[in-house]
């Protein structure tokens, strides 16, 4: 499978899994954003529920801790009227030695329709979609350092709603690119949506080798990196990076790469500031910036629910289509048992 899109789309080109933004075309990404836009409106209504996933079972499988992503996924599924089951896998079967494969097959046998998966290994969602449960819609809620496509899409929605078209924009992604699953997907999505100036900013220890092959420019100097940009995306710096010798100290990192009011002046005056959260105040971002007028950090959270509703409803409808096509073809290998 050289093109991830093959796995994510039905034969007629509809979304059936959402594993990464890589390989999806502009039309598909724009459809996700358009659908999400309509759900943003629903979020502002008195009654926030729509019946798109009524009678469907969504299982949230979180093999890694997460509060924000998990709760927005839960809320998104509930607003789509699905039955939602959230499993904290760390404390359940796999800790008793059951393999990931068997855990998932058991959940599939309970006639689940969708798995939302966060896992520490890159490619975990691909593995599940490809080999374990191809007839259950898989939504990647973050796999290792690889992808976090719903976060990337909510970032795209934030940019589109506040900046309009992507073509003329300059976007800087700052910080721990190396360990970021978000950055890779943001790059794919930004490129596909037409953004031509994508800059990565950080020290060489946090910059993956060969990342320039993804069509981005690399900057080790923060002032230069955010000079004249329209969007500054700050990434979270895990405190364990200091112990693992990626950085000497939090203080030095903040001095060189922290986003302060002073430094933000390098960007365009109307530049927006984003962060996937949770933020480390005083390590990668100054409080005055995080809470300031250019910050989109809380808007992002709200858009996160709308984007996840859009992706879940689109993937569910693609998956049902695929199942119906498989059911009508007796030779199909993907028939539900």
């Amino acid at each position: 499978m050289s093109n991830p899109a093959n796995l994510q789309l039905t034969q007629s080109g509809e979304l059936r899994h959402f594993l990464t933004a890589e390989g999806l075309d502009r039309l598909m990404l724009e459809r996700i954003l358009d659908t999400a836009d309509s759900f943003v409106v629903i979020g502002h209504q008195e009654v926030k529920k729509v019946p798109l996933l009524r009678g469907r079972t969504v299982v949230n499988l979180f093999f890694e801790n997460s509060t924000r992503t998990r709760s927005t996924f839960e809320l998104a599924a509930q607003r789509l009227s699905a039955d939602v089951l959230t499993l904290d896998i760390k404390t359940s079967a796999t800790s008793k030695g059951e393999s990931l494969l068997d855990t998932l097959r058991n959940l599939r046998a309970m006639h689940s329709d969708m798995f939302v998966i966060r896992h520490g290994d890159s490619g975990a969602a691909h593995f599940i979609a490809q080999q374990v449960t191809p007839d259950v819609a898989i939504i990647n809620a973050g796999d290792g350092r690889h992808a976090h496509p719903t976060q990337a899409m909510l970032d795209m929605l934030t940019i589109r709603r506040h900046k309009g078209k992507f073509e003329p924009l300059s976007v800087a992604i700052v910080g721990d690119i190396m360990h970021s699953r978000v950055a890779r997907d943001q790059i794919h999505a930004l490129k596909t949506l037409g953004c031509k100036d994508i800059r990565l900013v950080g020290p060489n220890t946090l910059m993956p080798n060969y990342i320039d092959s993804m069509g981005v420019s690399i900057h080790t100097d923060m002032n230069q990196g955010i000079d004249g940009v329209d969007v500054v995306i700050m990434l979270r710096l895990q405190t364990e990076r200091m112990a693992a010798a990626f950085l000497p100290s939090a203080g030095e990192y903040f001095r060189l790469y922290g986003l302060t009011r002073q430094r933000l002046k390098q960007a365009k005056p109307d530049a927006i500031v984003m962060h996937p959260g949770p933020i480390n105040r005083g390590i990668e971002i100054e409080s005055a910036v995080a809470d300031g007028p250019q910050s989109m950090i809380l808007n992002q959270v709200g858009y996160g629910i709308a984007v996840r509703m859009a992706i879940m409803s689109m993937a569910m409808s693609g998956q049902i289509q695929q199942r119906q096509a498989s059911a009508s073809n007796p030779l199909s290998a993907e028939k539900r048992s």
Binding site: M1, D121, G123, G144, R145, R184
Partner: protein, 422 residues
């Protein structure tokens, strides 16, 4: 046994032989080569278009067995090796239990003898339990039949211990075999390149290999021990070995068949069948490995066969076991290197047989009249489909499962006996 193979292309680099003719094996011994026109034998094979060469010697393989029979047994894996044209195998010491005791070595050799497909020339552990702290009983292990000592993929971080390993090996003139990869830098899951970065998999830089090769070369130079490097994977690694050989060091090296044929892009889509240690590297590295064989820097091609049960490869990429079951696909892959003009037939046979044998054996398999028959007959034109279900190896980690391939061994003779016949 009375066998005449008629009209094959006989290639034996040790005899500088490359000619189309007949070969007669009588009572297990090569009794005649040349036009055998009227001579008759109880078994005759019309081998026009086929390749007849000395049997192969595998300098690096894992046969599992003992406590890993779910992955393969010595009987199943030596049979698979025989079906790929091998007669002699050097199994890696990372067995369970570890090959650090004479009794384990004897058991491995005896099991292979009982199966009767190949002779084993085991590599024993350089340190006890491969733990990198205490010397193994090298002299006793050597008497039990080991041809060399390796710490396999396990680290010896303490240079004092490593120096003593070399000094002790040197005492008895023993060979040290190295899988060169720096332990800390080798913690990733694939070659550090654009594909790893895009897929978010931890990369293993070429530096992991070059640091380790340089380190071991210094110990080899210091002690004068004759060393061998298993599974060189990078262009820079080949260059270090080239330089060391140019300085006159008594070292040799091999490369795994997979590293000659695949690159890191095969991992695309998280294909765990291509999860390997050392990792598959870039196309320029692959080309440099080929060039290493062409110019003699790399002596031998090994199988690096590592059979696994299906569950070992069925997990998210990083959690899967490393290694490929290679015996069933080795010949089609190797012939493809010749077909595409990357190697000559002589270079290929030399790397699989003659030069590999010189590293591990005193009596090198050859087509010389009067020698006990150790040979393989290959049909380069045979088209077939490889499937896990029908292959001989128990390893289901078959990268080319369901693929249509060309070229197959028809017959292998080991120690004068038919060990494989298709």
């Amino acid at each position: 046994m009375n066998l005449i193979i008629r009209g094959a292309r006989l290639v034996d680099p040790s005899l500088d032989l490359d000619t189309v003719t007949d070969l007669h094996v009588n009572k297990g011994v090569i009794s005649a080569i040349g036009d055998l026109g009227a001579t008759q034998a109880s078994t005759e094979i019309d081998a026009k278009g086929m390749l007849l060469c000395p049997s192969f010697v595998d300098l690096h393989t894992c046969l599992r067995d003992l406590n890993q029979v779910q992955k393969g047994t010595i009987a199943s894996e030596t049979q698979a090796a025989s079906s790929a044209g091998f007669s002699h195998l050097c199994p890696s010491p990372d067995t369970q239990p570890c090959s650090d005791a004479g009794s384990v070595i004897s058991m491995i050799i005896n099991k292979a003898e009982a199966a009767g497909f190949c002779a084993l020339l085991p590599v024993a552990a350089l340190t006890k339990d491969l733990a990198g702290t205490q010397l193994s009983n090298m002299e006793a292990l050597s008497r039990a039949g080991c041809i060399g000592f390796s710490n396999a993929g396990h680290d010896i971080s303490d240079n004092t211990v490593l120096l003593r390993c070399y000094e002790y090996a040197d005492t008895f003139g023993l060979k040290v075999i190295v899988q060169a990869q720096d332990h800390a830098l080798g913690q990733g899951h694939m070659h550090a390149g654009p594909t790893a970065t895009r897929m978010g998999l931890d990369g293993i830089p070429v530096l992991a290999e070059t640091l380790a090769i340089s380190r071991h070369l210094q110990f080899m130079q210091h002690t004068g021990v004759s060393g061998h490097f298993n599974q060189v994977s990078s262009a820079a690694g080949v260059e270090l070995i080239r330089q060391a050989k140019a300085q006159g060091m008594a070292i040799t090296a091999d490369v795994g068949i997979a590293h000659l044929c695949f690159t890191d892009t095969a991992v695309e889509g998280y294909s765990s069948q291509y999860h390997m240690q050392p990792p598959l590297r870039s196309e320029s590295d692959r080309k440099a490995l080929i060039q290493g064989i062409v110019d003699g820097t790399i002596d031998a091609i090994c199988s690096a066969h590592q059979p696994h049960e299906s569950a070992a490869k069925c997990a998210p990429f990083a959690a899967t076991a490393t290694g490929m079951a290679t015996y069933d696909m080795l010949i089609p892959l190797a012939l493809q290197l010749v077909e595409s003009g990357q190697l000559t037939t002589q270079q290929l046979i030399s790397a699989l047989s003659t030069k590999a044998a010189c590293i591990a054996l005193s009596d090198v398999p050859s087509l010389e009249v009067g020698k006990v028959a150790n040979l393989s007959l290959i049909d380069p034109n045979h088209s077939w489909q490889l499937t896990c279900a029908s292959q001989i190896s128990h390893g289901t980690n078959q990268a080319l499962d369901q693929k249509h391939l060309q070229g197959r061994v028809c017959l292998t003779l080991y120690n004068g006996q038919v060990s494989y016949k298709r």
